[in-house]
Amino acid sequence: MAVASLSDVVVTTGSFPLLSGVNLTLESATTYVITGPNGAGKTSLLRLLAGLEVPSRGRGTVLGFDICSTERRELRRYVGWLGHETSFYPDLSPTENLLFAARTTGADVDLIPSALERVGLTHRAKVSLKLLSAGQQRRLSLAWLLVRRPQLWLLDEPFASLDDEGRDLTSQLIKAAQSSGATVVLTSHGALPAETNATSIVIVGGRIVESAT
């Protein structure tokens, strides 16, 4: 069953095409890795799948929601996102951030302590987010994914800024997501850990040039 289907989608900023006509079908319970050079459109494609970008041409659906319409807002409820930048509110602690996110989305707040423990942030659970390193902030985003349990995991460079332990942890979480039947799409510059069994999507110049297992 297709989780996402994109047909000739163009995404622009000003008059620059971030994505220049993407055709793509993503199957459920599969892991995909998007690779390509800098500026190829990897993050833009991920943001499009998350309902964070508005296509200026083409059409597409993700998890059954039309990404060209206001259904994008509804789609985001079912998507888990791990971005490059500091997520959440820097002045709040990891626990406060997760509590806010969980309460506003109806996620189970009881899962927060175990999620923080799983990503190794229990000892930093009550300090301000801005005092955490980039790697620890990414671990917090992973903790949110554990609480949220989304159908579609969208991970932008999930292994960046992480130490070996963090990389192992991320690999384990991706595998756990795979085995729970979720679809995982991640971007990567370098080689993935060997155990990550993923279908490769190569994007260059805002277009998919190769898609193979």
Binding site: T13, S15, P17, G21, G205
Partner: protein, 239 residues
């Protein structure tokens, strides 16, 4: 018919403006009390009508049409932007002619009169609208934010008007009609006044159309640039 209207608009606007000038300057007599100064009545009220009602009304309707998902189109956005630009110009002219009239009448260039003040506040809001458009590069973002700002301004106008009116008012009372809805001015003066409203309304329509066409061509140019950029980007992926 559409083609004919389009072609006739410019000449009609020009002819009616020239006719208003000739009637107002050469044919109508000077006023008993205000003398030659009263000729401003053939310019100022019609400018205010275009600035405050016609153009801002058009901008508000176009903005509402843009925000309504079923009628959303960049045409509505361009019409709104064009109307606000013309509105800003006419607000400036209204304030200028009002000042010219006010100096000999009230003895000062500016008074804190209700209509004058609310017109000035609206003028500043319109400048804000134009600043907002220039602060956003993405056409969709710009269109959405500008449309919300225009609606917010439309909602604000009566509030601004009443607040300033209760604050103070000095403006000249009704010029054309008495309280019993009888005409206060007669003959050639009344006809010229009516003509001025038609002339300025046609000027407004012509200016908005001209500005819209420029905006349309700019958008077309952007599309051409986007197509070229798309081609270049696709070439990047092919090589």
């Amino acid at each position: 018919m559409k083609q004919l209207t389009r072609r006739a608009l410019g000449p009609l606007a020009l002819a009616s403006s020239v006719a208003t000038f000739v009637m107002g300057y050469f044919i109508t007599p000077p006023d008993k009390v205000q003398g030659e100064l009263a000729r401003l009545v053939y310019i100022h009220p019609a400018q205010a009508w275009v600035a405050l009602y016609l153009s801002f009304g058009a901008a508000t309707i176009a903005s509402a049409l843009y925000l309504w998902p079923r009628t959303r189109s960049m045409v509505a956005d361009r019409v709104a932007a064009s109307a606000v630009e013309v509105s800003t110009l006419f607000i400036g002219l209204t304030l200028l002619t009002g000042s010219i009239w006010g100096r000999p009448t009230w003895g000062v260039w500016w008074v804190w009169d209700a209509r004058l003040t609310s017109t000035a506040v609206l003028g500043v809001l319109m400048l804000g609208y134009l600043a907002l458009r220039r602060a956003n590069d993405d056409p969709q973002v710009r269109a959405k934010r500008s449309a919300v700002f225009a609606i917010l301004t439309a909602v604000n106008i009566p509030i601004i008007h009443f607040s300033v009116m209760w604050w103070t008012t000095l403006h000249q009372g009704a010029t054309v009609f008495t309280e019993n809805r009888h005409l206060k001015i007669h003959g050639s003066m009344a006809w010229t006044l009516l003509l001025s409203f038609i002339a300025f309304s046609l000027d407004f329509a012509w200016m908005v159309r001209a500005r819209y066409r420029i905006a349309d061509r700019e958008a077309g140019q952007r599309d051409v640039e986007l197509d070229a950029a798309l081609m270049a980007r696709r070439t990047e992926s092919a090589s």
